[in-house]
Symmetry: C2
Subunit: 183 residues, 2 copies
C-alpha cells in the first residue's frame, strides 16, 4: 500500500527520470483536460516515455492518480503547533485551502472522488490523521471532536473545491473556524 510511486530498486537513475516525468505529466494533464480525458498513451507522450513502460509499471491510471492525490500535500510536513487549537486549526485549514486553490490539486481531488467510497483508498485520510493529532494535543478539554473538524472544516472546503471552486477565498478558512469554535 501507500506510495507505490517510489521505485523499488535503483533510485536516481533512468527509472527515477521516468517516474518524475510521468508524475509531472499526469499532474499537468489532469489539470488541463480533467481526469476523464486523460489516458495512459496521452500521459506517456507528454512524459516522453513509451506507453508500455507506464502500463507495466502502474497498469491502472486511477490508482496512480489516487496515489498522487493522496501524497501531493506532504503528510510529513510540520503541523502548526502554537498551543492554541483555534490558531492551529485556522492555519491548517488555510494550508488546505491554498493547496486546493491550485487547479492541479483540485482536479486530482475530483479524480479521487470519482473512485472513492467502497473500500478504495481515500485521498483525504491524511487530513483526518492530521486533525486527530491536533485534537489529541488539546486533550480532554478539546471543544471539538475529530468528526466535527471533518464535518465542519474539511467537508465544506472539499465540497467547495469539487462543486463550487470559485467560492474558495482568503477567508474561507477563518470563517469556517469561527463557526466551528464559537468565541
Amino acid at each position: 500500500m501507500s506510495t507505490n510511486t517510489t521505485p523499488a530498486k535503483r533510485p536516481g537513475g533512468r527509472s527515477a527520470a521516468v517516474l518524475t516525468s510521468v508524475k509531472n505529466a499526469v499532474e499537468e494533464l489532469v489539470a488541463e483536460r480533467g481526469r476523464e480525458r486523460v489516458t495512459i498513451p496521452i500521459v506517456a507522450e507528454r512524459a516522453g516515455v513509451n506507453p508500455t513502460s507506464v502500463y507495466r509499471r502502474w497498469g491502472d491510471l486511477q490508482t496512480m492518480i489516487n496515489d498522487i492525490a493522496t501524497y501531493r500535500l506532504d503528510p510529513n510536513r510540520p503541523l502548526p503547533e502554537s498551543g492554541d487549537l483555534r490558531a492551529d486549526l485556522t492555519q491548517w485549514a488555510r494550508e488546505i485551502v491554498t493547496h486546493y486553490s491550485n487547479p492541479v490539486n483540485a482536479a486530482l481531488l475530483r479524480g479521487g472522488a470519482a473512485s472513492a467510497g467502497e473500500s478504495e483508498s481515500d485521498c483525504l485520510r491524511n487530513r483526518r490523521a492530521e486533525a486527530n493529532i491536533m485534537v489529541e494535543r488539546a486533550g480532554e478539554r478539546s471543544p471539538v471532536t475529530v468528526d466535527e473538524v471533518i464535518d465542519h472544516l474539511v467537508a465544506p472546503i472539499v465540497y467547495r473545491v469539487i462543486f463550487l471552486p470559485w467560492t474558495l477565498s482568503e477567508d474561507t478558512a477563518t470563517s469556517l473556524v469561527d463557526r466551528l469554535l464559537p468565541e
Copy 2:
C-alpha cells in the same frame, strides 16, 4: 438545458421504452460497477437496445449521468413547511441522507463529482435552491444563511456520501442540525 431525458416528440411509444430502459440500465450499472467501469455499449446491452441509439440520442454518457443525478431526487417534491426552521431543516436533511443511503444515488453523486467544477452542471444546485427557499421563509431573523446551510449541513453529508459512506446513519442529520443551530 435541464432535463433532456424527456423525449421531444411521440412520448409513450417505442422512444419512451428506450428512454426508461436506458435510464434504468445506467442507474443499475453505475451502482454495480461505479462510474468508471460503465460505457455506452455496456449500458446498451443491459437496456436491450442498440448502442447506436444511445450514441445518437445522448452522445455523451457523462451528460446523461449528470442529468439523472440532478433530477433523481424530484426538485418539485413538497418541502417541509412546519413554520419551525429547525424542524424543517432536520427533516430536509434526513431526506437527503435517506436519498444517498441508496447506493445508486451515492454512485451517481460520485459520478457527478468527477465532472463537476469548471462551468459544468452541478448536480447539487437543486439542494441550494431548496435551502434558499427555507431560509427565505424564516425571513430577516433567520439564524443562518444559505451558505451556512450548504457548508455545515449539505457539505458534511455529501462528503460522507463520497468518501465515508459507511458513516451515514439515522442521526447524522439531527446532529448536524444541532451544530448548525445552537439551542
